[in-house]
Structure formats: structure tokens, C-alpha cells
Subunit: 125 residues, 2 copies
Amino acid sequence: MAGESDVPCICPLEGVIDTISKKWALLIIHVLGNHSRLRFNGLAKELEGISPKTLADTLALLRKEGFVGREAFPEIPPRVEYYLTEDGRELWEAILPLLTWTLKREHLTHEACKGRCRKPAGHRR
Amino acid sequence: MAGESDVPCICPLEGVIDTISKKWALLIIHVLGNHSRLRFNGLAKELEGISPKTLADTLALLRKEGFVGREAFPEIPPRVEYYLTEDGRELWEAILPLLTWTLKREHLTHEACKGRCRKPAGHRR
DNA sequence: CGGGATCCTAGGGGATACTG
DNA sequence: CAGTATCCCCTAGGATCCCG
């Protein structure tokens, strides 16, 4: 449509950025997108290399944002499961194109992680 | 779903994350997506609040990544124009769903930025 | 005008140890 | 098992000044 009224402003982008710019947030979203439910240590294992603190922090943020849900079972030992909410699933879908494009584009660099894939992301630097 | 193969691996995500997690990177991509070309101070104006250093740094990164091109004109005073490369344009398109979804989702929160919204970036290309 | 050079700070995020 | 509680470090990014 004409002119400038079809998209209001870019402020909303800032909102997402606060979320997705957290180093592990997208990874968590993505991992939870593939497994229906995961426990704390399950996540920690998938996201190889993340520290418990960071995982806890990021999960807390994602819960606050409404992307991730949490269910705790009163058992011993404790069991807690995390999963994507509807919103989280929508976010995940919203970033899939990005992931897809990236896959295509980085399949050269991709060699670099040949052996370690799946076994997700050792963020070594 | 037990499988490990339904989704290849999330390593590529790390790549993008490095880029999109830069606080202003996506904004720049998006702004450049809407204006065909912009000068340094033009960008600075659109991205109200960014410091010259950060803008320069981020532009340098985006150029290194191949998302943004730069053309300098040997004039006085100097004129430099930035624009999206093909890759940059693809990236921009890859994040459009994210933007769209965000727009829809945050139109509540959107009130929060009532006053400070900048010039509406119309998506025409 | 477009940035480079400096300095400085908040806080994100790693490591480790501890607890309910 | 699922987190807290600490400590510590590092870098992104703001502010400022200056120069070609």
C-alpha cells in the first residue's frame, strides 16, 4: 500500500531483539521446538556448554516473556519440564525462515561442525 | 519423536546469533531494507540513539559479513552511502516473518513507544 | 561529514560450590 | 535433580574528542 502507513514503526523489533539477542535464547527456543518437553538437565545437555546459571536465567526470561512454560512435579527427586507455549511456538516458526536461510548460506562453514552436530552447539570460540 | 535427524543441527544458528544479537544489527538491516541507500548520518538519524562508534562498529561487522555494501564519494564534504547487498536483502527477507509476527504480537506493548516512534518505515521495496 | 582513537561502565555470561 | 549463590571476567556499547 501506498506510502508509509503499512508498517507503523520499528520499535517492536527492539522488543524481540532484547529476547533473541540473549546468547542462548534462540537455541533454547529451537531445541524446545524439536523436543516437545525437556527437563532442566536435558536442556543443559542439548545446549552443551551452557552454565546452569545462564540456563536458569535465560529460562526465567523466556518464561517471563511467555515463550516457555514450566511444569514441576512434586516428586523426589524433583522433575521439572519445560516446553514452548503457543507464543513460543509462534516465535519458533517466525525464526525458521532465518534458520533455513542460514543453513543454506553457511553450509560451507558448516563443515566446521561436522563431527559435533547433534550434539548441538558447543559454543566454543 | 525420539529422532535426532528431524532437524539437522543448530550449529548454523550460532552463526546468525552472532550477527543478529548485535543490538543494532537487525535495525540497520531493516532500515536499509526500506531505504535503498543511506548515509552515515542518515542512518544515525533513523536509529535514534545509536552512538557513532557503535554505528561504525556494527556497519563494519555487517560489511565484513557481507550484508552491507558501502560506497564512498571523493567529495568535500565526504559522502558515503550504505546499502544492502544481495545477501543482506536475503537476510532482511528472512527476518521479515519475525518482524511481522512481532508487530502483531506487540501491538499492546506498542503503546509504550507511542511518543518516540520514529518515522514509520514503510516496507516498499 | 564520516568516522577512528580512547576511556569507561553495566551486565551478560562462564566456573564452581552448595542446597532443598 | 533443579536450581541458587558467588566470584570474576570480558566485551558490547555509550560518551567524548579529534582529524582528513
